[in-house]
């Protein structure tokens, strides 16, 4: 049957893979919007490289989700493209942080820095997963995110400690993004089951190290860590900002306009 929307059987393993895949895809998509529009040609190259790394990670994780998802009626299985192109906004499981509009180069860099400072140690810890496929994905992703962290750290320092104008922009970007960082460390019952099996780690254990990394770089950048403790959440359970709908409308328009077509 040709379909224009899919249902997903979200077992804990599938849900887990989709969450990580959606983070990578949505953030990679945001970075891909910058191609041709960055402040210098050198940074145009850099942002596209990071975007390509993330889209690659998303594909590996969607493939894993497809493998672990119980087969659908009629033996049909989901694929990376049905997950990406035929799920509605409420079926997406990414962090709100990843779907926020780009804003200026400062905000793009700050968002990528805050995420990379989390996801790099996260993947490093996941290399010890009892699940061999997840461990392999983690090992490949970690090398990529380690570079993302280095690249963005250097830019946070330069823009924070550059001119008064750039300092203000970076501080504003940090304030804007801060309340979206808490969701990275959340965990729930579905993940607790996988943690108990040694398949995944508890993301909250990354928090203190993340905070130290962020503080170290912000100090060098002469930026101030926001005080607010209130954190936004909802992306992991499909409650998104208004922005994701627009992103998906653009991204999914073509495949949805021609159900079943091959592109």
């Amino acid at each position: 049957m040709v379909t224009n929307t899919i249902s997903v059987s979200e077992t804990p393993q599938v849900l887990y893979a989709l969450r990580r895949a959606d983070d990578a895809l949505i953030l990679g998509h945001r970075l891909s919007e910058c191609c041709g529009h960055a402040p210098t040609l050198e940074e145009d190259m850099a942002l596209a490289n990071i975007g390509l790394d993330l889209i690659g990670q998303a594909r590996a994780l969607y493939a894993l989700a497809a493998l672990r998802e119980p087969s659908l009626e009629g033996g049909r299985a989901n694929t990376e493209d049905t997950y990406a192109y035929l799920r509605d906004v409420g079926q997406y499981r990414n962090l709100l942080l990843c779907e926020l509009p780009n804003g200026d180069f400062g905000r793009i860099i700050m968002r990528q820095f805050l995420y990379s400072a989390f996801i790099d140690p996260y993947w490093r810890a996941m290399m010890k997963s009892s699940d061999a496929q997840l461990a392999a994905i983690a090992e490949k992703a970690e090398k990529e995110t380690a570079y993302h962290l280095r690249y963005t750290s250097e830019w946070v320092i330069r823009l924070g400690d550059g001119t008064p104008k750039s300092h203000d922009r970076m501080q504003a970007a940090l304030e804007f993004l801060w309340s979206y960082t808490g969701e990275m460390f959340d965990t729930d019952e579905a993940e607790a089951m996988l943690q108990a099996e040694g398949m995944i780690i508890d993301a909250s254990v990354i928090h203190d190290g993340w905070r130290t990394t962020v503080q170290t770089i912000l100090d060098r950048a002469t930026l101030t860590l926001p005080q607010s403790a209130w954190m936004q959440k909802g992306g992991r359970s499909g409650r998104h900002s208004e922005h994701l709908g627009f992103l998906l409308a653009e991204m999914q328009q073509l495949p949805r306009s021609e159900p079943g077509a091959v592109w």
Binding site: T40, E42, A46, N49, E154
Partner: protein, 100 residues
């Protein structure tokens, strides 16, 4: 449609050298713009190693490279061309001696 902009200030130029495989020397691959060494190194990685071309990168500010003067090519390099006795093929060794 024409709009006069303030001239964009030039950014420092760097030369990039890449070791493509273990055991090989670094080879000049091109140049790029960056305000400092760290950014130059990152830009070199992002620009010149996207297809697995490198294992090691050097970046050097272009103005630090001292080049020989092309008009002195004769003086510098031609004297070496007439010294055939520096090359093994200059000497005759009978074939029965074998490889030497």
């Amino acid at each position: 449609m024409n709009k006069t902009l303030k001239a964009t200030p030039p950014v420092q130029l760097w030369e990039v050298f890449i070791r493509s495989r273990s055991g090989l020397a670094h080879k000049h691959v091109g140049s790029l713009h960056a305000e400092d060494a760290e950014l130059a190194l990152q830009a070199a990685r992002n620009l010149f190693t996207r297809r697995g071309e490198g294992l090691s990168i050097w970046v050097v500010p272009s103005h630090l490279i001292i080049a020989s003067d092309p008009s002195e090519k004769g003086m510098l390099f031609e004297p070496a061309l007439s010294k055939a006795y520096r090359h093994p093929t200059f000497y005759n060794v009978p074939e029965e001696v074998g490889h030497m």
